[in-house]
Subunit: 288 residues, 2 copies
């Protein structure tokens, strides 16, 4: 099955309008981060040949109703070497096959000189059927542009991240412009909102007012709600647009909602709870 899919490679197109429709249909802007840590998988799955995939599949089946995106975090798969890469492949093809309307983000934070970024783009957009990839901006335009050459694929550029280290360089300031602002201003010359999104950490919700002045309509991928302490309410208050404009990620709170065999049921109920909160926020802002 997987092999045929690779060859066909005729997956559903993923345009910005598809994402917006799904947000409205599911009344949700939840992305489930598949940061699958083999040491945290319930012991009931440990006998599976591919425990990481078995876990992911169960999580996906349980949460797809409440989610509009999945975001495998590459590091967790690479840490397992060849076997991890295999679990990643199976996971991404499974989502594309079973839930073709769902947006799949490679959380990879790549970025290199042009001919190398071209290879990364092949890795994630051709060899694997991801719809989007997170990219680090440090190396500038020619490190990002190879990813932009693919139709119906998105670059999600790091702007203001959720971690403490964001303070080290992202607030570096020339005249009255911070580096993260410069990144958003400059990168708008490379592509519009139909191909580009930005990462803004939920722990920086107060900065969203400023950020929305620079990118009033771009979608933002927002990690940091949950384990990292960001508030969904504040993110929506300052960051939501008429189209929604937000994809909010939750990883650990959903994946590890229970350490036992009911992990998928608990994950579903956690995702449902987030979706219900999101529904209220979408209603308040008249997106739905």
């Amino acid at each position: 099955m997987l092999k045929n899919l690779t060859k066909r490679n005729n997956f559903k197109e993923m345009k910005l309008n598809n994402i917006i429709s799904e947000i409205k249909r599911k009344q949700s802007f939840l992305c489930v981060g598949l940061d699958t840590d083999i040491t945290k998988i319930p012991s009931v799955l440990k006998t599976e040949h591919d425990a990481v995939f078995a876990f992911n599949k169960a999580i996906i089946d349980a949460t797809a109703e409440y989610s509009i995106a999945y975001k495998p975090n590459l590091a967790f798969y690479e840490a397992l070497g060849l076997k991890g890469w295999q679990s990643l492949e199976k996971t991404v093809f499974y989502i594309k096959e079973r839930f073709p309307e769902i947006f799949i983000i490679a959380d990879a934070k790549r970025g290199d000189i042009g001919n190398t970024s071209t290879q990364y783009a092949k890795a994630f957009f051709e060899t694997l059927p991801f719809d989007a990839i997170t990219v680090a901006p440090y190396m500038g335009s020619d490190s990002v542009s190879p990813f932009l050459k693919f139709d119906d694929k998105f670059v999600i550029l790091l702007a203001l991240t959720s971690n403490a280290g964001a303070n080290d360089f992202q607030y570096f300031k020339q005249n009255n412009e911070h580096l993260f602002e410069k990144v958003m201003v400059e990168s708008q010359k490379w592509a519009g909102k139909e191909k580009m999104m930005y990462v803004v950490g939920a722990t920086r919700a107060e900065m969203l007012v400023q950020i929305r002045q620079i990118v009033p309509e771009h979608f933002l991928l927002v990690p940091g709600v949950g384990a990292q302490g960001g508030s969904l309410h504040d993110v929506a208050k300052y960051g939501m647009t008429n189209d929604g404009g937000l994809i909010v990620n939750s990883s650990r709170a959903i994946l590890y909602a229970s350490p036992d065999s009911d992990f998928d049921i608990k994950a579903a109920s956690e995702a449902k709870q987030v979706q219900e909160e999101m529904r209220k926020l979408l209603l308040e802002k008249k997106v739905i």
Copy 2:
């Protein structure tokens, strides 16, 4: 063989002194970049079960005499999916086994929040026996520190890269300090020259005078000689220290020195020529 190696995991330690000794012994500071592009491999190898590994092995055997480091570029392996990851594993284990004195750099440009960078560190320093990894600084200290927890392993932080896009953000300036200078100043608080190196593109050789004022003794990994147009002579003139202080990378000029079955002989002669030039520069600067 490979499996046993993984389990033993008792590779030779790679301390800065080992690297310096090898530079003096081989009279070279050449790193061969294994940016192995399957479409450029000589047709004589195309029937091999693992053509990428067969190519790498031939290149390594032909050039090890003249090189102190190898630098597989992750993108080229990831572009091939599972099979590429397999070729990468075989390549890295082959170098460690056959040439344990050679420094192996994962050119991966990774960097993410702490718990994710920890997984990347596992991927490259535990699952695979790399000695060093290139890291992008945008996300700051906590995205880099997980890599620094490993003994006898190095972080090679992007400072000033060789591509045109370097101009977009790396020269961003607060007061009198550019972003790339801030990166070098700040990161010296995280680790010293025994664990940290910097990427400085050969196409920016004139900047090395300024850079040596900030990092007078740190080793610099210098890509951009050859296909990208940088001058080895200028890099040595402005960047060399008493210990050498430079690891200069060449990829395409060596890998694809010939498209025919004599590719390894031509690669060796290209590497030898670079090594001879390096020897002169090391003598001029009295490193040897």
